[in-house]
Amino acid sequence: MTIETDAPDDVVDPGPLTTGSRTTAVLGGVALVAIAVLALFGLVLSPADANQGEAVRILYVHVPSATAAYIGCFLTTTGSVLYLWRRSRWWELVAFAGAEVATLFTVITLVTGMLWGRPTWGVFWVWDARLTSTAMLLLLLLGYLAVRRLSADYEVRAKRAAIVGLLLVPNVIIVRQSVQWWRTLHQKPTLFSNGLDSRIEGLMLFSLFTGFIAIALVFLWLLIHRFRVAWLAEQVAEEGLEAAIAERRAEGASA
């Protein structure tokens, strides 16, 4: 079976013992700096919100995390399509890594959402459109991962997971749409309206912006590492085919 070689240069060589490289070291460094800047602006320099108080600071992580999760899902579906269409293992691993990182960010979104909700609404959970959709997203991702992590041959796992992955984005769209309709056709009191409707500007807007940058960098760093780990794992599994064939024939010669 041929393996796509358009992966980052330092991955083609089956030799490396770690998944780090110059690229990821630089990326990681920049990400750390971005996180520091985010902490500075988000926690210290930007003001508290008139309505939400200090809780607004959580949104600087919550909103970008949600976006990161959706981007991860998009990668999963794209990778799944390309795997089914072109049999590209590289893209299949992108799909897998994308799903795992998306799951992480979905959990972060849910947790930060709940942490934001407590001081703002007084409760940890409400069945509003956004939170509910995010919870559904998590379940859909867990389903994909359950299939991808089966104990079976790579081909079996990959193909089945790819079908599930291919449908991930359509499912997410349909679920979001139905949850949205559901929650807006029944008008709930404005107590539960999402605080993001209020105007956000100035330093708060800048903090949100740095949030996006920082999360994007962390997302990318995690994605590359996760991809490489998966890549190496599959490489290891494949090694020794020639030796296995020779062994098999020797078994026959002695029979």
């Binding site: 559904m136 389903g143 349909i174």
Partner: protein, 222 residues
């Protein structure tokens, strides 16, 4: 191809007819769920009445999981999967046949459950066109999506736990939509229900296509 699909559907229904699993186990299970809801929700306080549409569709979904699991466990007999691949039946026909068989069983289930809620929960039925259309569209949606994910989980040791995890989140929009449509019909405001039927039709269309395309590749395994 349609003849092949019908052949497969008839075969599945004949298996059901001889083994009577749906009749003896799935149907009673569905009615049992309705009864359990009554225990949990105390009929005297009006909760049961208000929740009827949702409870109906939850019962349908849980029972559908059993029916879908059964549809694939019959194919797990020794050598049957290989025989299907060798038979020359086009995978699309095989998929369609299975969808038809599951859909027919679900329709019977839904009718019986409908009688169940009328009798057990005292529901008074209005808005027939919306009710019937909802049942038809939801059945297609459940059968197509369920069969596709059923194949994904088929033949695996973990099938029984994997299938619900895959199917229930995917079918959540169907639950939301059909419940809202039923509420609209029973509440006398059918115009609010039809958009939901539209949404579920889109869902069903997506899965008809996905199933037809995905079933073949999924059957192929070394």
């Amino acid at each position: 191809m349609w003849a092949d699909a019908w052949l497969v559907a008839v075969k599945d229904l004949r298996i059901e007819f001889r083994s009577r699993v749906a009749l003896n186990q799935v149907l009673p299970f569905a009615l049992l769920v309705l009864v359990l809801f009554a225990f949990a929700l105390d009929p005297d306080r009006g909760l049961l009445e208000k929740a009827t549409p949702g409870l109906y569709w939850v019962a349908v979904l849980f029972s559908a999981l059993l029916a879908l699991g059964r549809s694939f466990s019959v194919e797990s007999a020794d050598g049957v999967r290989d025989a299907l691949r060798l038979s020359g039946l086009p995978p699309v026909a095989l998929w369609l046949g299975k969808v038809l068989s599951v859909a027919i069983q679900l329709l019977v289930l839904e009718v019986v459950l409908g009688a169940g809620i009328i009798v057990l929960y005292g529901t008074s039925v209005t808005g027939w066109p919306l009710l019937l259309m909802t049942i038809v569209v939801a059945t297609v949606a459940i059968a197509t999506a369920g069969t596709l994910y059923g194949v994904v989980a088929a033949g695996l040791r973990v099938r029984e736990t994997l299938l619900p995890l895959l199917v229930l989140p995917v079918l959540a929009p169907v639950l939301i939509g059909s419940t809202r449509a039923f509420e609209a019909a029973l509440g006398g405001t059918p115009s609010e229900g039809w958009p939901w039927v539209g949404l579920m039709s889109v869902f069903a269309a997506v899965y008809v296509v996905a199933g037809a395309l995905g079933f073949g590749p999924l059957m192929e395994e070394t």
